[in-house]
Each structure stands twice: as C-alpha cells, then as structure tokens.
C-alpha cells in the first residue's frame, strides 16, 4: 500500500512494523524479492511522499530527504559545491536507469557493505534521522551500520533525513574510486577520502574509508589523524593506507581473494588520499 505522509508510514510501522518493509526506489529490495532473499508480507510505498524529497543547504550541514532520487542529487551543483564527495560517489552507483529511481535513503538503509553511499556516509560522518510515532532520533553513521544489510533502524522506524556535515575549511578536496568487474557493478573494493589543507600546504583535517572489505564500510579517523600537519608525501600516505587495509576482514569469492582485496584496499586508499590532497592544495 501507498503511504501519503511520513506520519502515515510511521503509524503503519507502529501497528505492524515487523511484517512491513518500506519500499522507496526498489532498486535493491525488488531484486532481493525476485531472488526470494527477502519475503516481506507487506510493502509500504513511500515514493509519493513529497516531504521526503528535498535538499536543504544550511550553514554547517546539508539535509537530504531520504526519498530524494540519486539522479536529482547527482545533478545538484550547489550540493556538489558543499559536499563534493557525494557527487563523486554517486557516479559509481549503478547505472542511469537505476539512479533515476534509486534513492539516497534506500541505499543507506539497505547498507550493502560494498555500496558507495554508505561509505560516503561513514567518511563524512553523516547522521541518520529516524522517525517513529514516538519522535525522531539521530544516529551517527559509525553507530548506524551494524553489519551486511543490517542497520540501527528499528522495525517501527522510518529513515526520514540524512544530515551531511559540511567542512568549513577553505581548501577542501575529496576523492572516490573503486574497482569493480564492470562500471556500475558492486565494488570489489571502494575507497573515499576528504582532506582539508591550510595556507602552508599542510593537512589540517582528514578522513578516509574503505568499502567492500568486511561487514560494513569503515572509516579510519584514528589513522587519518596521522596525516595532520604533514604534506602527505607518498611514504606517510602509504603507511596509513597499509594500516587501514590490515584492519579489514574481507571475504573470499569467485571475483577476488581476501588477499587481493587487502592489497587493492591499500592501493585505492592511498590513491584517494593523494588525489583529495592535491585537489585541496590546488584550491585558490
């Protein structure tokens, strides 16, 4: 059935949350249903709720409605100026046809360990606003992703908004890259980084993360702190990237062995860190 408002969706979830699955773009849920990996007894369609589709630029954050289509975000220049990593990540999400229908909240709530938007959320420290009939609670990305296809969303809750922090530093650079069998496929490994640089060309703020390397996408704020005050030369970047790769616990499958994924993770992490730094340093 179709929910006409967030309040209506929350009321339905309150009554029967365990049996209900919310459907947004359906680009992950419907394939899972087609393969009988998901068998929800009821679907509640939130696609027609206009209040869930918006981009609000505020001084320190960008608020994005959960049901905003990925294609709409990809084309939003003002958003790209404030949160550049988001556009860079979106370019790797599926294909034109899936981005026309897929939503930002759907991708984040689906929480595929190799998906791009959850990784961007981890690196930027996005905050998920979860609505229920009892009110709203805010869950930061680090506490939100609980495992493969598992999040902190309770059965009676609906992901309503995602808040993306905007870095206030003057010179910021970000980068996203991944290796997949074909562009648009799930990443074997994905990497993302955002760096801020001071007037003297030294790193003043940094974070980076890796996807596809374990149960959830991971950010490495502790390791990124080693970059502060440096000019991010190859040696320091590689050592930080190596240390991050060591922390991963990737799986073995037909497409790539765990060892290959770890090596790839170190290479891609270093690459995004360097690219983000160079972009930041090149800013006027």
């Amino acid at each position: 059935m179709r929910a006409g408002s967030v309040a209506e969706a929350c009321e339905l979830l309150r009554q029967d949350g365990d049996a209900i699955k919310l459907i947004a773009g359906g680009q992950s849920l419907v394939p899972m249903m087609a393969m009988r990996l998901a068998r929800p007894s009821r679907l509640v369609d939130i696609n027609e709720i206009a209040a869930l589709k918006f981009v609000a630029l505020e001084p320190d954050i960008v608020r994005i409605g959960a049901c905003t289509r990925q294609c709409v975000l990809e084309q939003n220049d003002a958003l790209a100026a404030r949160v550049p990593l988001l556009r860079q990540a979106l370019a790797w999400v599926g294909h034109v046809q899936t981005r026309n229908r897929g939503t930002i909240g759907g991708s984040v709530a689906h929480a595929d360990p190799a998906a791009e938007l959850p990784l961007a959320a981890q690196v930027l420290g996005a905050r998920m606003m979860l609505r229920s009939t009892a009110g709203v609670r805010c869950v930061p990305a680090e506490a939100f992703f609980a495992g493969p296809l598992a999040t902190a969303i309770e059965p009676h809750e609906c992901l309503e908004e995602i808040h993306w922090p905007v870095w206030s530093e003057h010179r910021i650079g970000s980068a996203f890259t991944e290796v997949s069998r074909r562009h648009g496929d799930f990443a074997i490994v994905a990497a993302a980084a955002q760096i801020a640089v001071g007037d003297d060309g030294r790193c003043i703020r940094a974070n980076f993360g890796l996807g596809g390397g374990g149960q959830t996408p991971l950010a490495f704020p502790g390791l990124a702190a080693h970059l502060l005050g440096t000019r991010m030369d190859a040696a320091v970047v590689q050592s930080v990237a190596q240390d991050a790769a060591v922390e991963l616990d990737p799986g073995n499958d037909l497409h790539a062995s765990a060892g290959y994924r770890k090596r790839l993770a170190a290479v891609l992490a270093a690459r995004t860190l360097r690219t983000a730094y160079e972009l930041a340093r090149g800013k006027p």
């Binding site: 179709r2 359906g26 679907l43 369609d45």
Partner: protein
Amino acid sequence: MSETLYPISVEVNGVERKAQVPARLSVVDWLREELRLTGTHVGCEHGICGACSIMLDGEPVRSCLMYAVQADGHRVTTVEGLAQPDGSLSVLQDSFCQLHGLQCGYCTPGMLIAAQGLLDTTPCPTDEQIREAIGGNLCRCTGYQQIVDAVKHAAARLAVKR
C-alpha cells in the same frame, strides 16, 4: 483464495489505461501480459540486464523493479511509444536498422529507451556519454560498437533536422 486487486490509472504511450492489478505484478508483466505491449522485453528480472527499460515520466527506469501499483498516476513510454504517430520508425529506431545496431534484438528495446533518454537531455552526445548511457544495458551478442554508432548517427540526423 482470491488476491486483492488495486485500481490503477497509468498513461501508457499517450493513452490512459485503467486496470485492476495485484500488488505483486511488476510493470513489465503488466505491460506485456495485460496490455500486450510485448516490445518491452523481460531479461534477468532483477535489474541487471536493462532489457525491460521503459520511460517513467520521461526518464529511463527498469520496469522489472517496479510494481504496476506504483505506476498509478504516472506516465509510461515503452519502445512502441518511440515510433512516430503513423507507426513508422523514429529516427533513432531507423538508425539502429541502418547501422546494424542489433543482432538478435533481445536487448534492443532497452537500448532504444536508454539512447532516447540520453538524446532527450543531450542532443549531441560524445562517445563517452553514449557508453555511459547504455552502460546499464547488456547485449549478449556484444554488438556494442554498432549500437554506439547508431546512436551517434541518430544524433547527427536529428541535428540536421533542427
């Protein structure tokens, strides 16, 4: 046990179509089996191959990943709707014929919808843009080069027309 039916009203290729559908019916199955619009093909049925692409409110989407009830109140264009009002082929369709942009033809409706979606927003696409636009469509005959050529050819023909 009879399944609950839901009333829907969808504009398909410019014509208002009303129906009663079960919640579990996908858009592509509704188009093919009830409306007999068999131009749209069913391939993988889980959003990978792109053969079932249609336009929803003017944008290419996968019709196997949408339920017919969700199309209620929206506008759908299928490959049949790309042809001209008299039934003759559009410039894009004709360009696929001219440059052999198809072999077995299974992926063709999806390729045409993807290409039309591109030309609607980008009348003079680069090769890179064409490849990006059809990136979500699989051709197992692997005739991609002629498909790219056909889209380029169509863009050039349409530019002359304007």
